[in-house]
Amino acid sequence: MTDPNSNLIRYEGLLTSEVRVQLADLLMAIALTNLGSRGDLKKLFGVAVELLDNAQRYCSAGSVSFQWRIQGSELVIEISNLADKADADRLLAIVSSIQSMTAEQIAEAFKQQLQDPAFGEKGGAGLGMLQIARKVGNRITAAVSPESDGAYRCTSQVTTQLRA
């Protein structure tokens, strides 16, 4: 039985390619052990992978903070990293836009973005946040705060209901 409020995983440090792979492996193992009967594992794993991909792609410096925690009947996935202003602004814009969308609008925006053959400068497909919203709905938040060195601390949080 899982504690009704517990941290399943918390990582703080550099998000290297190797760490990303190890975190992905660990997340699948944690999901299987702790959430097997309470959620769609592939969806939850997918949300975490998209957030890690974004953090790695747009992290401008320093370490990343990542956690999965259970709050009552919900799973909260949170990631925080430093980014430059343009990427921080882009994150806020996409999340703000998704928050106001219905499921149908999210699906439509996803299809439009999928049909755009271009990848971004940093190799992104522009689909990550929309993919998350497709999987778990639009309970996504993003917060941005300036740091002293000119970078911006970006924190994204995704909340999804677990099955009883």
Partner: protein
């Protein structure tokens, strides 16, 4: 034309494209950091093969999971296959889905809708046995 074989890693699928049979398979997980870089030679190989060979192609995609940038790369790959179909080439696409995998089924539906591409869905049961249907 050479065989394209890229062994699987923890983040990329095994790629095995064989010119002598026209059998092309992608197998495993696809969560590379740079999907565009990974899939570029795969798309290029298929383009070249379709341009110079009249041999029918079977493209079998058996991925257990992929990230969104891989999804876009797969969209581009399947778009090329669709173009070839429209130009008269025989390109059969088999999309392998594990039982109850809504994500993979939904993805195939997106491809079918957006590209107009026909795919045979191969459903894998627990024992790995396949059952096929067309979309």
């Amino acid at each position: 034309m050479h065989t394209l074989h890229i062994p699987a890693t923890r983040t990329t699928p095994e790629v095995h494209f064989q010119p002598e049979t026209g059998h092309c398979t992608l197998t495993g997980v696809s969560i590379p950091e740079h999907a565009q870089e990974f899939y570029q030679p795969v798309i290029q190989w298929l383009d070249t093969f379709l341009a110079y060979s009249r041999r029918p192609v079977t493209l079998r995609i058996a991925l257990t999971y992929f990230n969104s940038s891989s999804l876009k790369a797969l969209y581009i790959l399947l778009g090329r296959a669709r173009q070839a179909q429209l130009m008269g080439s025989t390109v059969r696409i088999i999309w392998v889905v594990e039982e109850d995998d809504e994500f993979m089924l939904e993805s195939s539906a997106y491809f079918a809708e957006l590209l107009g591409v026909k795919m045979d869905i191969e459903m894998l049961g627990e024992g790995g046995a396949g059952e096929r249907r067309a979309v």
